[in-house]
Symmetry: C2
Subunit: 700 residues, 2 copies
Amino acid sequence: MAPTPDWVKQLQPSGPQGHELLAAERACSQIPVEKLSELIHTKEVLDRKQRVLNILKSEKVFDKSQNYFAGRIDRFEAALARAKKLTNLRIKHGWTLDEYRTANELISEPGPYGLHDSMFLVTIDGQGTEEQKEKFLTKAEKYEIIGCYAQTELGHGSNVRGLETTATWDSASKSFIMHSPHLTASKWWIGSLGKTANFAAVMAQLIIDGKSYGPHPFIVQIRDLKTHEALEGVHVGDIGPKFGYNTMDNGFLLFNKVKIPHHSMLARFSRVDPQTNKYIRQGSPSLVYGTLTWVRSTIVMQAGSVLARGVTIATRYAAIRRQFQDRDAPEWEKGENAVLNYTMVQIRLLPLLAATFALHFTGKAMMNLYQENQKKMNAANANTESKRGPGPEELGAGSDSLADLHATSCGLKALSSTIAAEGLEVCRRACGGHGYSSFSGIGSWYADYLPTTTWEGDNYMLTQQVARYLLKSARTVISNPSAAATNDTTAILSNYLKRSEIGCAFDVLSNDTDIVQAFAWRTAFLTFEASKHRDEQKKPWNDLLVDFYRLSRAHSQYMVVKNFHEALESREVSSQIDTPTLGILRKLYRLFALHTLEQEGSEFYASGAVTVKQISLARTNAVMKLLKEIRPHAVRLVDSWAFDDWVLDSSLGREDGKVYEDMFYRASELNPLNRITVDPYPTSSVLFKKVEGEVGRSKL
Amino acid sequence: MAPTPDWVKQLQPSGPQGHELLAAERACSQIPVEKLSELIHTKEVLDRKQRVLNILKSEKVFDKSQNYFAGRIDRFEAALARAKKLTNLRIKHGWTLDEYRTANELISEPGPYGLHDSMFLVTIDGQGTEEQKEKFLTKAEKYEIIGCYAQTELGHGSNVRGLETTATWDSASKSFIMHSPHLTASKWWIGSLGKTANFAAVMAQLIIDGKSYGPHPFIVQIRDLKTHEALEGVHVGDIGPKFGYNTMDNGFLLFNKVKIPHHSMLARFSRVDPQTNKYIRQGSPSLVYGTLTWVRSTIVMQAGSVLARGVTIATRYAAIRRQFQDRDAPEWEKGENAVLNYTMVQIRLLPLLAATFALHFTGKAMMNLYQENQKKMNAANANTESKRGPGPEELGAGSDSLADLHATSCGLKALSSTIAAEGLEVCRRACGGHGYSSFSGIGSWYADYLPTTTWEGDNYMLTQQVARYLLKSARTVISNPSAAATNDTTAILSNYLKRSEIGCAFDVLSNDTDIVQAFAWRTAFLTFEASKHRDEQKKPWNDLLVDFYRLSRAHSQYMVVKNFHEALESREVSSQIDTPTLGILRKLYRLFALHTLEQEGSEFYASGAVTVKQISLARTNAVMKLLKEIRPHAVRLVDSWAFDDWVLDSSLGREDGKVYEDMFYRASELNPLNRITVDPYPTSSVLFKKVEGEVGRSKL
């Protein structure tokens, strides 16, 4: 393509310019953006981000300008280069783990060291003996060996019990034989395995003397440390392109009777005695299951911020983008209307804006709960064996508060990642046609986030665990209605039972606490309904899965509403933010809660928590009024999520509103397809008649 | 990577093999797949598809094996090669337009001639004079010139009135000056423009003597016919990568006072008299607006089949994939359960399976309606000017049946493309982790389909047109309640008014006709509610957009339910299919209708169409029972959509069930990333230490 002519360079967008429009938006709200940012992130974290960001921006390897154009192999190559550079920067600047994590978060793309840095290290640290840590962890921390966590198989996902890979104890050679008996036994989806790792923490069925002892973790070398070629009997590679996550080398792995030494089996909780050839279990891995709870809590915590990226982009762009005149606008008010003024856009974006805060405060509460429990458990140091049956109803158990935490983390992980993933797509579409351009910055972010709805427990599967817990709690409450509640769940259940003959009258339209109670009431109602179906009518578990899904969603929505409300009533929040801003946050609370209530109207009505009239008023009056009241603050509210433009990498979401200039620049100046001139005629077999420079193509 | 070792080649999936599982599924249903296929597609179309498919399969250029791996530029290059080949095959085999379209449909990827073949030709044909057709169409049909349709601009989407590009009549030189006054005037998103077209049908504001006459179409040459470089004063290129649709070169286009001859303005309906310099309007472009209705009807028609691809893939895979044991299963029934047996999977997939048929029959009915109207209009040949105001409430109008058709096509386009797009994503997630792999075949199909929710009228914007029409109809009925109904819409409205003091009692759980009536009742209720808000309470249009959206959805759902029901009761269907199969189709009808009714419970309840008890029974009993009854026929039902494996290009959806073998083959044998060996250590600056052959990468 000819270089951009001068007349094009001089063109400007018509009408009021993007930066003027955003300035006007910011002028019509008094929200102290910095203060609110500090409430969300803390000053410490904001400073850390800025410090790390400055370093990243100064390194050429982190330049993002070709990310949206590059193909898979170039993306992976860049990601590998970035991963290496980060590791070196960490040493150079003496970064703490938090700083290193911040850097990864700012880069916002999965990288080839991802699973090494997380699950590989965690597994050895959590399940290895001191000698094993010495042997593997020391080297791994220095990246002398690079690992991954190989659990999922081609034919086996959520059901860990069903894994096919075997580790058979060979008493003669005092070693294990790793083997993949079928194609479906191939490890699959394993992050960092495809091209990068030379070690793997492999979950395999331990077999001693023909008997299976279930899945156990083994540290196995898979590639040569010098040549990086697969070792004998190992077949390993990348599983191919995905809907997103293409900077990561998710891999496959097959073993053909590979002999590994006795010390390969991580032996903190169980081991094979090489003398007696007996299986020995020692201590409880319940702290390990705690790790999963921690991971889920992290997902809840991040969901608000994940969604906030999309909401920031869509809100800023909706304040700039103009379309049609308001048909009721007075004659003198010329020009097109900002789409953010349309209620049909508001109803899509503003409840999601509210959700970002709701999820954020819920995540914080969840993390606190986790840490409290962790302390309790460490104190108790329960040495009882934890039994895990084959079906989902059997999972978990443990102490009362652990069970509550487990169930809550499952339900909230499912709800929050669903809200975030689906919300991002709503944001993308709310940007109209331009949302479909890669330059919107939402599409790839959404595509990369999507697996979160599947991993760490599939969002649909997890709801069974919540239902199981609630059914158990219902049984406890029913069997002893007068007993004191042991936690919040039993409290709302017994409250419901006590009042079930008096009924309830929640004033959801004017009382914030009543909203929480209405959500609790609906959850209790659905719990006892489920209990009736399962325990009284003995309906098959499978017939109830849809009800369980609804029940779990109801419970999790209650938790979000409750946590959001409690946060806003807390001294911690009110001491950090001025009263008018707190007032706006309360409106966001009401918007989130009433919009949810209205969406789930039938259940609320059926439970008797609210009347049909209230639901109808919530929809036509309360929600519409809240949209109008929150609208002027929308841009400042998203500003306080404090995403740097470098992080967003979005034409539509630019802080300075230069939407069209940036779209045009990327298309016209950065786009490698424009270095090509085609021969357009079907009579000619020439496709590209001119190619300027290298443009990322090849005959595959 | 080392070549696949023999021990890997010999591995098979564990347990019952995919083909055995699908065979078992097919054995448990008696649905005559071929017969049902013929009912859906007609024998003629099936034969045509097969004939064309055989030709495509035999041409190397259509080989799909690298589609999922290739980057944008390679994808575009392949698409260009395919487009050229298709054009040549069309001549070689003397294909009809239908056959050529079938070929494009089978290839299932947008191509660089896409907009030339459709909108460019249609625009000249529909809006050009005989001389203009002679001048442009003849060459265009021979691909001596290649065009596109340039309407949308960087700053202007749905609102055509707001376009900025100007065509100013220069009376001195008797020509038009094409100009882009601002950056936002840049044409944007224009299919086939980025790299391929040398001509464009440009929509520009016609200006004569300083006065604007609104947007008109101009045929403008933009690139040199020999060198293919942009002409002087033209800046044109590709707009960059998108969420999908990356085989298409959507482009941008700017003009710097480019002079074009008088004959460039398509002059069938309006022209500038070169002698008097006056604007002359002649005849009515209402037939042109008919084209938009036709395009929307096509979208409705295709939505069923678009969704059916995803449902086919997800259903077949769900019949093969096994996970967990049924916790109520007897001890002796070992092994994991097919996920299709889980009600939580059924509730996601089977209503979508039902939707494929519902949309299909609705599309057919819609097409018939369109054709009838077209005949009527041609007969009447109305020469009245159609007035188009600036706001959405003003759009459309025309005769009573045209207005009905217009509104119905808008509403159904929005509903059907939303159901299809969102349904595809549900299908993808229902495949669990593997749904995220490109090899699922759903992700790219979904991503390519997504723009359908935005183009030909944004799905949210369109609902205003439906609401406007229904409001108008309500006014007619209210002002003269005893007048005979002029169409179905006024019929359901007056029926509601007549019975509003008697009430209704629809037996939705056991009477199929009553279901249709309940949907009609709810639509009428919402229409009069909206009418009250707008006409009595004079609420601002903007405050009602959310209600209008709901109203439109209700009306369109009614249309789908009604059309599905009428099709199943028609002689045409019952004469073609056996009674048991018709019985299963009726179950699909009930599932679609009752599942929709339950999802929209509050509106049905509020309208009085059904009781809360009925909604609750629909959910817990009727829908669950239908899932169980339809389940055994699921695989045969998707089989009858008759997608060839070549078309699906999916590991998960293979007709022979060889899911895992195909996943593994693509990852291990076809994946170019596996031709690379990396240096994994952060201490080394080497990234790829070994690269075998070309692998689609370059320094961009």
